[in-house]
């Protein structure tokens, strides 16, 4: 007996080791859940939230929000332009913690955010606050699943700053409300219409001047300009190496030209009726036009393979690209900064949306005042009130300034009461572009649940040597009636739209590209439309129409 016991005693350490090993493996899966611990331990205090001593009001919100430091968890991709590893390295969040007495444990994913996000949501272990840039379509789905907290009542009670914004801009409420009437996320807001433009056509204006051309006004002008770029050697190296029109995807090219023919690549509104571009007879003209560009090598023949921003940057900075469609900061601004001192005449200018043969001229690449990106609250949070208050702080004057400009004396100075970035932010000497440097100190007003400050973009633009605002010229072309608003679907509608569109998208991408490249004829475009009809586009459009009507009714 004793022998057996002794042998058992020998076995024990081995077993313990095994058990620890196994449980350690199990534990590592719980990464997302570790945030729940601090919340649970301090859960009691949320009940007894009394006015904090020495508090002050920020637009009606009392800060600090809690007397004893509270920790909340927040999931967010860290973003491409931020060079650090944790948002708490930014001055703005350090200051915010001091002001609100709430510490945020950031859980960052790297760049592949769409996959990372859906993995997070399927894990069932959620942080208190979740960032996403597709809440427009995702919030209803996850809201119905019970992952997100409906926020209407909390906003009513605890978010005076955000509530005031909703009251002052009634349209916003409609843009973020789900079909069931819930608000599941707080969006990024742009209140000035000239800042609504996102991407726009950009042209090498020094090439235009050199060849004695004018900035293009119509689709024919565009064709002629690109042709001149191709044939008259604007970079002057004696070689025919110019690639007149470059892009990272077909969508951007479509946003540039399709509206000139009265359609869009995706869904749009035509006299109150939702339509799908490729299912419109006018779309044939778009394909014909792009096919002409492709055949004459005006459109980058590699556009299907070179799909990274890196390859595009390479083409622009090696002086072979003539025109593209992109953002103000990360395209125009970055390229200008990169070429500074390396090229005598390098200059980019914004072109107006081209006018088509039928007289159509619209700008479609703009966003709504309320963006689809923002912060949602998970249903797992133990501190709904405090979370709401912290979110509300982002929309207070103080919070907006912090998010857009950072901390006074560190990243900006007050000049005549106006925030002005410090020299080392606008003209960094550490090898970063100013956008990157800025994001080391603040979150950036255009990508967070806050209000984007016009002065932020203005100052960066000026620092990049753009004296006039390129976005201003688009104001007149923004067509709110033709752009499909951020409609949200019910679960039943989603059930129909998602599977049908999966096949339709594949078919469209494949067919349109084949026609542009001349591998398939676009003469009998009727066939494409017939095929789309067969694949159920009519059924999809019905759902879109219903969602659109609902949106209008709000």
């Amino acid at each position: 007996m004793n022998v057996a016991k002794r042998k058992l005693a020998l076995l024990l350490p081995v077993l313990t080791l095994l058990v620890t090993l196994v449980s350690a493996c199990g534990g590592s899966n719980n990464n997302g859940g570790n945030a729940a611990e601090p919340s649970a331990s301090s859960g009691a205090q949320s009940e007894t939230a009394a006015p904090v001593e020495g508090s002050r009001s920020v637009g009606g919100l009392q800060v600090p929000i809690v007397a004893d430091k509270l920790e909340l968890s927040l999931w967010s991709p860290s973003g491409g332009n931020f060079r650090g590893t944790d948002f708490n390295e930014k001055y703005s969040f350090q200051q915010m913690e001091e002001n609100t007495n709430i510490h945020i444990n950031f859980q960052h994913s790297t760049e592949a955010s769409a996959e990372a996000f859906s993995l997070l949501m399927s894990s069932g272990k959620l942080p208190d606050i979740i960032y996403n840039d597709l809440w427009g379509t995702d919030s209803g789905k996850y809201g119905a699943q019970g992952a997100l907290l409906p926020l209407e009542d909390l906003i009513e009670q605890y978010a005076p700053n955000f509530k005031k914004l909703l009251d002052d801009h009634p349209d916003i409420r409609g843009q973020i409300t789900s079909p069931e009437g819930h608000i599941y996320y707080l969006p990024n807001l742009v209140l000035d219409s000239q800042d609504l433009t996102q991407m726009f056509p950009q042209v090498r204006s020094d090439w235009v001047e050199k060849l004695g051309l004018q900035m293009p006004q119509t689709t024919e002008d565009w064709y002629n300009m690109l042709k001149a770029f191709r044939e008259q050697d604007p970079n002057g190296n004696g070689k025919k190496d110019e690639i007149p029109l470059v892009t990272v995807n077909l969508e951007n090219i479509m946003m540039l030209f399709a509206p000139a023919f009265g359609v869009e690549y995706g869904f749009f509104v035509d006299n109150g009726e939702v339509k799908f571009g490729p299912n419109d007879p006018r779309f044939k003209d778009v394909v014909a036009y792009l096919n002409r560009l492709y055949e004459e090598q005006l459109l980058d023949p590699n556009y299907l393979v070179d799909t990274t921003f890196q390859t595009l940057t390479e083409k622009v900075t090696t002086d072979v690209a003539g025109a593209w469609f992109g953002w103000s900061g990360s395209y125009m601004g970055n390229f200008t900064t990169l070429m500074e001192g390396k090229h005598d005449t390098f200059k980019i200018a914004a072109a107006i949306p081209p006018k088509g043969p039928g007289g159509d001229q619209r700008h479609v690449s703009f966003r709504w005042q309320a963006a689809a990106h923002g912060l949602a609250v998970s249903s797992k949070t133990a501190h709904p009130q405090e979370v709401m208050k912290w979110l509300d702080y982002q929309y207070s004057e103080e919070g907006i300034l912090l998010n857009n400009f950072g901390v006074e004396g560190k990243s900006y100075d007050l000049v005549n009461g106006e925030p002005v970035y410090k020299e080392e932010v606008t003209h960094p000497t550490n090898g970063l572009t100013n956008t990157q440097e800025l994001l080391n100190h603040t979150i950036g007003g255009g990508s967070w649940a806050t209000v984007a400050d016009t002065r932020y973009a203005e100052q960066i633009r000026e620092a990049n040597g753009q004296t006039e605002n390129p976005l201003e010229i688009y104001k007149d072309y923004i067509d709110f009636d033709a752009k499909l608003p951020p409609v949200q679907f019910t679960a039943e509608e989603n059930e129909i739209v998602v599977p049908l569109m999966a096949d339709i998208q594949t078919y469209v991408a494949e067919t349109i590209n084949a026609q542009i490249m001349g591998r398939q004829s676009f003469d009998d475009y009727d066939k494409v439309m017939k095929q789309l009809e067969q694949m159920g586009i009519g059924e999809v459009l019905k759902q879109y129409q219903a969602a659109y009507e609902r949106f209008k009714g709000k």
Binding site: V22, S118, S122, G124, K141, A147, P499, A509, I512, N513
Partner: protein, 321 residues
């Protein structure tokens, strides 16, 4: 290797007879051996068998917040959705063709490569070639795909070579033309795995008794006769086992490589079941659906494995079980 495979089978039979007479006493006597087995058993239970439970979401409308158990049953709805999908047959065809071509070209290629290496008499050259040939196996797939894209560009090395030799007069846009996709996929796959796959054959080859060759030489057999009468029969069981295993994964294409290389221009030949699932399941977070497709894929693979094994057992002596 012929001997080892048969030996394993023989051993298995012996163990079976032993097992029937197993008593607790015997187990206790060998308890340390069993203890050593424990981690492996635990590993399989925890990491291979437990997750299988999750496959039932293929029959449910999975909602992560209700959990696997709490999500409502939907029967075969997800499977029907997949079968009714407009591109179902194209996906099936592409998946099958892509893996069939891989099997057809890559599988014998590494065998031939191993045989050729085996015939090399210069030791140093042999090991040099072997090392070089399995280097690509260690390069990250992302890098591999970057290299493929660069090589196949209009100004890339392949086009330059073909132009230089006068085979073509205009550069070919390999990655945009659907008719080239499978060639690129299989060709690069061969380059990636040729050396690595040949290792197991080389091991089998070294297991052949040298006295057989000596006897054959005495009998007047040349290199070719040695190959057909000693080498090939010697490694045949290994080849067959590997073939069966390969058939068992016939529908598992390297989807990550396809995703990195395909584009709408090549969907026609490049879109396979798993890339479709990626676009549908992961991007749209439709987990039940992708689980159903994955399960469908596995069932076919399993069926093929059983079939291949049965055919092999009927026609030759070798089989997995």
């Amino acid at each position: 290797m012929a001997v080892p495979v048969n030996a394993i089978k023989a051993k298995g039979r012996k163990q079976q007879t032993k097992r029937s007479s197993l008593s607790l006493k015997r187990m206790m006597a060998n308890r340390y051996l069993y203890l050593m087995l424990l981690p492996t058993v635990l590993y399989f239970l925890i990491f291979e068998y437990k997750p299988m439970y999750g496959a039932i979401i293929a029959f449910k409308d999975f909602n992560p917040f209700a959990g696997v158990a709490g999500s409502p049953w939907v029967g075969f709805k997800n499977f029907e959705k997949f079968f009714e999908s407009y591109y179902f047959f194209r996906l099936l065809k592409n998946t099958f063709l892509m893996s069939f071509y891989s099997l057809l070209f890559i599988f014998p290629a590494s065998l031939v490569f191993a045989l050729l290496l085996n015939e090399l008499r210069i030791k140093k050259l042999k090991s040099f070639l072997q090392t070089v040939s399995y280097l690509p196996h260690f390069i990250s797939l992302i890098v591999i795909c970057g290299m493929i894209i660069d090589f196949t560009k209009p100004g890339g090395i392949i086009n330059s070579l073909l132009l230089g030799m006068g085979i073509i007069s205009e550069p070919i846009q390999f990655l945009i033309l659907p008719e080239w996709f499978r060639t690129i996929y299989v060709g690069s796959g061969m380059w990636q795995s040729l050396g690595w796959n040949s290792i197991i054959y080389l091991a089998a080859l070294s297991g052949i008794n040298p006295s057989l060759y000596e006897a054959a030489v005495v009998d007047g057999a040349g290199r070719w006769k040695q190959l057909t009468h000693i080498t090939l029969p010697g490694i045949l069981p290994t080849v067959l086992i590997l073939l069966i295993l390969n058939v068992g994964t016939l529908l598992n294409v390297g989807w990550d490589k396809i995703i990195l290389l395909y584009n709408p221009g090549t969907y026609v030949t490049a879109d396979v079941i798993s890339t479709f699932v990626y676009r549908r399941g992961v991007m749209e977070a439709d987990y039940s659906f992708s689980a159903a497709v994955g399960l469908f894929n596995s069932v076919i693979n399993f069926t093929l494995l059983v079939l291949a094994n049965r055919i092999s057992r009927k026609t030759t002596e070798s089989s997995l079980w």
